[in-house]
Amino acid sequence: MKGLSQSNRQRAQLSLLLGPVTIFLAIFFFTPLLIMLIYSFLMPGLYGGVEWIFYPHNYGRILGFADPTFEFFDPVYIQIFLRSLRIAATTVIITLLVCYPAAFQISRLKENWKNFSLFLIALPFFASLIVRLFIWVLILKKTGFINSTLMSLGIISEPLDMIYTEGATILGMVYIFIPFMFLPLYASVEKLDWTLVKASQDLGANGFQTFFRVILPLTMPGIIGGSILVFIPTLGNFVVPTVLGGAKVLMLGNLIEQQFLSARNWPFGAALSMLVMTGVLVMLFIYIRSETKDGDQSPATK
C-alpha cells in the first residue's frame, strides 16, 4: 500500500476525504445489512415481525432442511434460484455477443463518431426504466405492434405468445443492461495495443489464433467486468420479470419482494437476500482478483 510511505499529513487528508463516505456506508449500508443477517437467523412471527429465537430453517426452506413442525422443504425456491441464474447467464451471454464486436467497431471509428456512438449508447438512461419497459409491453403483447403487424400482413392467423414468457424477460434484461456490458468492454478494447495483434500475425498466427491467444486474453478484464455488472443486477431484478414476465416468470427479486411486502415473512426474505448476496460477493471476489492481476493483464493465463 502507498499509505505506508505517505506522510502523516497526507494520511490525515486521506481520512478526511474518505471519512464521510465511510460513515455514510457504515450507517446506511452495513448496519441494515447486519440487521438483515441477524433477521435471517430468527423465527418469523405469526403476524409478521420476528421472534428472537435462533432459527436456521429459513435457509432450510430453501436448501432442504425445513422446520419439520410447520414447513416443508419445497424445491420451488431452488428452481427459482436456478431460473434466475439461467436468465442472468443468458442475458450476460447475449449482451456480450452483441457488445464485443460493436466495441471493436466503435473503437476504430474516428474520434467524433466514437463520441457520438457512446452518446447513443448512454441515451436510454435519459428515459425512465418503467416507460422503456412498458414500451416493450406495447410491442410484445397479444394485440401489440408485432402481432398486429404480422396478422394484418396475413403472415400469422393467431397472435404469437411473446409477452409473459422467459424469453420476454431475457429480452427486457438485455435491453436494459446492454450499456453496462458495453462500457467496460469498450474501455478494455479501446486500450488494446494493435501492434500486439500485428506482432502475433508476424510470428505466424492466423486471425483465429491471434484472437484466442492475444485479443481475447487482453480484453478479458473488460469481459469479466461487463459480465459482472450485467449478471448481478439481472439476478436481483424484479421490475423486468414483473412487467414482461408476469406471473409465470418468477425471479429471485420477485420472491424477495413478495416475502417482505406481501407474505410479511422478513426472516425468510432476509435469508433469500443473504444467499443472493453471497453469490454476488463470490463473483465480486473473483472480479477483484482479476482486476488486481490486471497490472500484468494476465487474468486469462494461469
Binding site: 495495443d193 501492434t195 500486439l196 500485428k198 506482432a199 502475433s200 500475425q201 508476424d202 510470428l203 505466424g204 498466427a205 492466423n206 489464433q209 491467444r213 492475444v214 486474453p217 487482453l218 497490472g295 500484468d296 493483464q297 494476465s298 486469462a300 493465463t301
Partner: protein, 370 residues
C-alpha cells in the same frame, strides 16, 4: 537457393490524403537484399521507410510492382505466411505472457513439440544474453532487456529475413551503442539477412553492409556506409547523412583543378577524379565539417576566410559556426588540440580555414534534388 533473399521491383504504394489527393508513400522502389546482408533503411519521418517495411512483412499491399522473398512472389501472401519476422519499435511483447511464452510464441503456433520448444527458447534467450529469464513477465524487465526478448522472439522461428523497425530508438545512448554492436554480431552469427530501419544516421553507418537512404518514397542512394558518407549521390543524402557544407555553383576546369564559383562569389577548389565529367554545368561541392582545419600556409590545401559567429565545445573538438565573406554558412570541426589558435579565433571572430581539394566531393546537378 536464390542469391537475393528479397527483391522489390517497381514497388509503389499510394495513400489518400485526408484533404484529398494521393501521396506516393513508395514511388517505384527497386531494392534487392542479398543473403546474409545487413541493410539499413535510413530516412526522416514520413520518408516511406516504415511503409516499405510493412510491404515486406505483408501488412501493406503494393499498388504496383512486385515483391519476391527468396524467389517466391509474395503479392497475396498474408503476414503470417511470410518467412519474415519483425522486431517492433516498442517491442510489442505480449504483456499477458512470460518471457519464455513470448519467445516461444512462433513455435507454439507452429505446433513445435514442447521439449524442443523449451530447448529452443532457452537457446534463443541465451543468444541474447537473457538465459534464465524465461519465467519473468515482460513488465519486470528494463527497456534494454525487453528489446532483447523481442529480438529472441523474432529470430526463434529462423526467418529468412529479419526486419527491425527502429528498435533502438527508445534506449538511452550508451545502451544503444552497445546494442548496435551486439546486433551486428548477432546478424553475423545467425546468417539471417537484416533490414534495419532507422532515422539515426550514426546507427546506419555503424552497423550496415549497405545503407539505403530514403526520402519522399524514393531511394536516394543505396551504397556502403563509407561511400554514402564520402560520396553522397545528391545534396539530400549529403545533408541527411552527417553534417555537410554544400556550395552550389558553376564548375570550370583548369587542368587537374576544378573551380566552383558560387553565386556568393566564393570559389571552391576541387581535384577532378578520373571518372568525373565536368562540362561547365552546375554542381554542388560538399565539404564535411571535419575536413576543415585552421590554415597554416600549406600550399597543397585551399583556403577560405570566414567570420565566426559561435564556437561550441564538443569535448574532443570545437565546432565553429560562421559565414564565408560571401555569406554562405560554414560549419567546421577543429580538434581541441589546436586550443591556442582557437583562442585567437575567438578574439578576432575571424578565421582562415583550409581544406584538401582532393577531399571535396562534387555532386552533379543543381542540388535541388529532393
Amino acid at each position: 537457393m536464390h542469391d537475393k533473399i528479397i527483391s522489390l521491383d517497381n514497388a509503389t504504394k499510394r495513400f489518400s490524403l485526408p484533404e484529398g489527393g494521393k501521396i506516393n508513400a513508395l514511388d517505384a522502389i527497386d531494392l534487392e537484399v542479398s543473403r546474409n546482408e545487413f541493410l539499413t533503411l535510413l530516412g526522416p519521418s514520413g520518408c516511406g521507410k516504415t511503409t516499405l517495411l510493412h510491404v515486406i512483412s505483408g501488412f501493406v499491399q503494393l499498388d504496383e510492382g512486385q515483391i519476391l522473398i527468396d524467389g517466391v512472389d509474395m503479392g497475396e501472401t498474408p503476414p503470417h505466411n511470410r518467412p519474415v519476422n519483425t522486431v517492433f519499435q516498442n517491442y510489442a511483447l505480449f504483456p499477458h505472457m512470460s518471457v519464455g511464452e513470448n519467445v516461444g510464441y512462433a513455435l507454439e503456433i507452429a505446433h513445435t513439440p514442447k521439449p524442443e520448444r523449451i530447448k529452443r527458447v532457452g537457446e534463443a534467450l541465451e543468444l541474447v544474453g537473457l538465459g534464465g529469464y524465461a519465467d519473468r513477465m515482460p513488465r519486470q524487465l528494463s527497456g534494454g532487456q525487453q528489446q532483447r526478448v523481442a529480438l529472441a522472439r523474432a529470430i526463434i522461428a529462423r526467418p529468412k529475413l529479419l526486419l527491425l523497425d527502429e528498435p533502438l530508438s527508445a534506449l538511452d545512448r550508451n545502451l544503444r551503442q552497445s546494442m548496435q554492436i551486439e546486433l551486428k554480431n548477432l546478424q553475423a552469427e545467425l546468417g539471417i539477412s537484416f533490414i534495419f530501419v532507422t532515422h539515426d544516421q550514426e546507427e546506419a553507418l555503424t552497423m550496415s553492409n549497405r545503407v539505403a537512404v530514403l526520402n519522399g518514397g524514393v531511394i536516394q542512394q543505396i551504397d556502403t556506409p563509407l561511400n554514402t558518407y564520402n560520396y553522397p549521390a545528391n545534396s539530400f543524402v549529403a545533408s541527411f547523412v552527417g553534417a555537410s557544407n554544400l556550395f552550389e555553383g558553376k564548375a570550370s576546369r583548369d587542368g587537374e583543378r576544378i573551380h566552383i564559383a558560387t553565386e556568393h562569389n566564393e570559389v571552391i577548389e576541387a581535384r577532378a577524379r578520373k571518372d568525373q565529367h565536368i562540362n561547365g554545368g552546375k554542381v554542388t561541392a560538399m565539404l564535411r565539417p571535419e575536413q576543415f582545419s585552421l590554415a597554416d600556409g600549406d600550399e597543397n590545401r585551399a583556403e577560405i576566410d570566414v567570420t565566426i559567429d559561435q564556437i561550441v565545445f564538443l569535448g574532443s573538438a570545437y565546432e565553429l559556426l560562421g559565414k564565408t565573406t560571401g555569406g554562405s554558412e560554414i560549419k567546421a570541426i577543429i580538434s581541441a588540440a589546436r586550443q591556442s589558435r582557437l583562442a585567437e579565433v575567438e578574439r578576432t571572430k575571424t578565421a582562415r580555414l583550409s581544406y584538401d581539394p582532393n577531399a571535396v566531393h562534387l555532386i552533379p546537378g543543381t542540388g535541388d534534388v529532393q
